[in-house]
């Protein structure tokens, strides 16, 4: 999952770029940046607002500037599964796709930097830099999706919650890397969004969070703020092999 948020630090450093995201511009040449500049515009969405409906014609691709959004799919009877979590620097949309395949919804207030799709695709064909960067990002997302599949298919409710919290904690503490010391993290998701992410009901999410709290694995400060006294305790609850961190 870490892959969904590449390197926030470097992203911020990319000030010469009109888009301001490592997502797209990391290796861009000045003239390429100029062309991106010409086809970009910003849009902001309120929490709960749908950004794109599955089946919509795609007018743009975009890069998340701030906020949190989710890719979701639903079955005919309304059962819903989140299939992508979009955070700042993540890419939205697929070059070459006319019609959206998934719903995209803002979870918190979210700002996108959009690029008109047609000219963006035209540019892609001419600038290997950008398509190579997109390949890298797609492969990172694929890795994340596969970890997520293991979680959905084989983990218990308790392991799922522990995994989600450790994922969020890990990216909140990128560049810090101080294990074995208390960490406190904001959960950017409601209980319902967590249940959509984890393939559970929101009641089960609530119960398991309470259980982890009772067992001293996590502490709660309000509903949306978690304190982790010892990251190793939490990681021991995820069910993952211990060397998982080493492989990232």
């Amino acid at each position: 999952m870490t892959a969904l948020v590449p390197d926030l630090e470097k992203m911020r450093d990319c000030t010469s770029c009109p888009i301001r995201h490592k997502a797209v511009c990391a290796k861009c040449e000045p003239d390429e940046l100029q062309r991106l500049e010409e086809i970009k515009y910003y849009r902001t969405f309120a929490p709960g607002q749908t950004i794109i409906w599955a089946g919509d014609r795609m007018e743009f691709v975009a890069s998340v500037v701030s906020g949190v959004a989710a890719l979701t799919q639903t079955l005919e009877d309304g059962r819903r599964q989140m299939v992508g979590l979009l955070l700042p620097s993540d890419f939205v949309g697929r070059p070459g796709r006319e019609v959206a395949k998934f719903d995209v919804t803002a979870i918190a207030e979210t700002t996108l930097c959009c690029f008109r799709r047609k000219p963006f695709e035209k540019m892609l064909e001419e600038t290997p830099n950008v398509s190579q960067r997109l390949l890298e990002m797609a492969l990172d997302e694929l890795d994340a999706a596969r970890e997520w599949m293991l979680l959905l298919g084989r983990k218990t409710a308790r392991e799922k919650i522990a995994s989600l919290i450790s994922i969020i904690a890990r990216r909140a503490t990128i560049n810090e890397r101080v294990y074995s010391e208390a960490v406190s993290v904001d959960l950017p998701l409601t209980r319902e969004a967590m249940s959509d992410y984890l393939g559970l009901t929101l009641e089960t999410v609530s119960r398991q969070i309470s259980a982890l709290k009772k067992d001293g694995v996590i502490g709660l400060k309000g509903n949306r703020h978690v304190v982790i006294p010892d990251m190793r305790l939490l990681l021991a609850e995820t069910g993952d092999d211990d060397d998982g961190g080493a492989l990232l």
Copy 2:
């Protein structure tokens, strides 16, 4: 899921290419093909044999020539989840990755066309054609992974089985497109492999296949061969929205 097998017909047509796979060579120039030719070699694996262990150093990337292989992940206590199903023309390995992140295992006898990793990566940097094709493939796989996540997170055992059979049937009948007429398909997977794919136990897989048979949704000819009297009946069991096919 169809994305995992691009266009087998075209793949076969690609006879001028030394690799013989649309996977890599579709748009290659003659000199690029020559370079690929120089770094390729073939390897064949027996059913059940592990091709790559997670944690291994990657010596090659490869394209599946024939057979079936699986990407799998395991939790510390041995619970196992398939996270990728590799069929002819699919790509194995990730450019830029030193160390494998998933186990790769041959399910049936499988032949790979391997490319030494370092020179392949070097070539990638110089040939936009190839990296653009890889981007396309990665995005297809990402779509497939997301459908798979919906299956793992929200579908019932019966829906999972119906989905898997319809996925296999659909790609077996690519280019035919004769709905509402009996189709018969070979299952290239053991019950155990199906359970790894679906996040179930093999007993549940067996029971649900029997149930679908009893209800007349499918017929069985031996253990590994399925007859589908009416594809629409099967699709009605998958839980998916009806327009799923249209979006592909």
